[in-house]
């Protein structure tokens, strides 16, 4: 097919290369070509945040980013949070604090909360609410999501640093 672009990036630490039309959105590349179905398609209009992934240290809505824009990027999806069969502190905290019900928003919530804690390891409740304002949850009322992020922040603060 004409007008295909080769795009390489690192996905959860592994190098990948795809050939895409410029109009292909990152969410479709991740889900349909790379079988990473953690990022969800919710609204497709950059409102809901279910498709949030981490690209070069930024939380982005992958429904509103072209894959061709991501050449050379480092990307993290929810699939990359768990290490060696051990849940990330955020995943464990969402489990313990009941930070999800239907779970649809959870991959986006987790990747967004991951970046938030990278930038601000000890956020206040207000900072958490402002920081996850781009992620909609229709089940929980957010209360337990906020608690989970607080709980994970505490755990990460006391845990020994994990080598990258």
């Amino acid at each position: 097919m004409a007008n295909m672009h080769k795009v390489s990036f690192k996905l959860n630490g592994k190098g990948v290369e795809v050939a895409v039309e410029p109009r292909e959105l990152l969410i479709h590349t991740l889900r349909e070509r790379l079988a990473h179905t953690g990022p969800h398609i919710g609204c497709e209009t950059s409102h809901c945040g279910a498709c949030t992934v981490d690209v070069d240290g930024m939380s982005v809505k992958s429904c509103t980013v072209l894959t061709v824009q991501c050449d050379g990027s480092e990307m993290l999806t929810v699939e990359g949070l768990e290490q060696g069969g051990v849940l990330h502190a955020l995943q464990q905290a969402f489990h313990e604090e009941h930070g999800l019900q239907c779970g649809y928003c959870t991959p986006g919530m987790l990747t967004r909360a991951y970046r938030l804690l990278q930038e601000n390891p000890n956020p206040t409740e207000q900072e958490i609410r402002y920081g996850i304002a781009g992620n909609l949850c229709r089940c929980t009322g957010y209360q337990n999501i906020v608690k989970a992020v607080q709980s994970a922040a505490r755990k990460l603060a006391t845990a020994p640093a994990v080598p990258a």
């Binding site: 950059s46 945040g49 930024m58 509103t64 980013v65 824009q69 967004r112 781009g134």
Partner: protein, 289 residues
């Protein structure tokens, strides 16, 4: 929803981008953060044959003080603005206004230049630029020109930017020490455009207003400068009667579009209220020498 097909170009320099824009013609659009353009393309409100991505041009990004002005590259993201210690010190109004824009994810991608160039009266930077007396650097095949924010916004999605030009830089004079500021924005929810919003900068001389700028977001087809309200306040103290009159004068130039955020009367009333609050907050922050 997938955008219609287009060709993608990623120039590495401003000159290369200007050349591409010239050679590809009116079928080409500049891609900045993409959070207005890509949704419009998905909905087929825009159907460019070419996208010229400006993200790979380092010269278009960054915040620096040059003499008594702040220069901001057009591709500087909202998140960069929010985290800039220089802006927090010199242009706190810009930081306050930016904190109300969209949501965290959108602020990582969205750029100040895109917000300004798009010409959407719902965007927040245009009114902030009017209140801060900013200028814009436009680069085209014939060279560079610097135009004032006041007069730049011509209509809905229409600005002074010519089809072959690129907005490269925003220049903002650093307000005099003691200048008060505020951006008051009413929105229904995170991520929504303003139902009404007002940007104010204010300098006092003793108890009286010495200089004031009042600019309105989403109150008409362009951001609006509330000139009559500004002129009315100069030389007067900030009290209830004067705030009432200034708000009334600001409301009198509003011509908002009724939509799901409210009818025209409601939006006009909220514009008055945001103006009153922004004036009060700016006054409380202003030095009274």
């Amino acid at each position: 929803m997938i955008p219609p097909a287009f060709d993608y170009h990623a120039p590495r320099s401003i000159d290369e981008a200007v050349k591409l824009l010239g050679s590809l013609g009116p079928e080409a659009k500049l891609l900045a953060g993409g959070h207005s353009l890509l949704p419009m393309m998905k909905l087929r409100f825009a159907d460019p044959r070419h996208l010229i991505d400006l993200a790979k041009i380092p010269a278009l990004r960054g915040i620096a003080q040059v003499g008594d002005e702040i220069r901001i590259g057009a591709m500087t993201t909202e998140n960069d603005l929010l985290r800039s210690a220089l802006l927090a010190d010199k242009l706190p109004l810009l930081v306050e206004g930016t904190s109300w824009i969209a949501d965290p994810q959108v602020r990582y991608k969205g750029t100040i230049g895109g917000d300004i160039s798009h010409g959407d009266p719902g965007n927040d930077h245009p009114a902030l630029m009017l209140a801060l007396e900013a200028s814009f650097v436009l680069k085209g095949p014939k060279g560079e020109r610097v135009v004032k924010a006041d007069g730049y916004f011509l209509g809905l999605y229409s600005t002074l930017l010519e089809p072959e030009e690129i907005l490269t830089q925003i220049r903002v004079p650093i307000p005099a020490p003691g200048t008060g500021w505020s951006y008051q924005k009413l929105k229904r929810k995170t991520g929504d455009f303003a139902t009404a919003a007002t940007a104010v900068t204010m300098q006092m001389h003793g108890a009286n207003v010495a200089r004031v700028h009042i600019a309105l977001t989403n109150a008409g087809s362009t951001p609006l400068k509330a000139r009559a309200a500004e002129a009315y306040l100069v030389g007067k103290p900030i009290n209830d009667a004067n705030l009432n009159e200034a708000s009334r004068l600001a409301m009198s130039i509003c011509d908002p579009t009724p939509d799901q955020r409210g009818d025209a009367d409601y939006k006009q009333a909220m514009c008055g209220e945001m103006t009153r609050r922004a004036l009060q907050a700016a006054h409380s922050r202003a030095a009274k020498p």
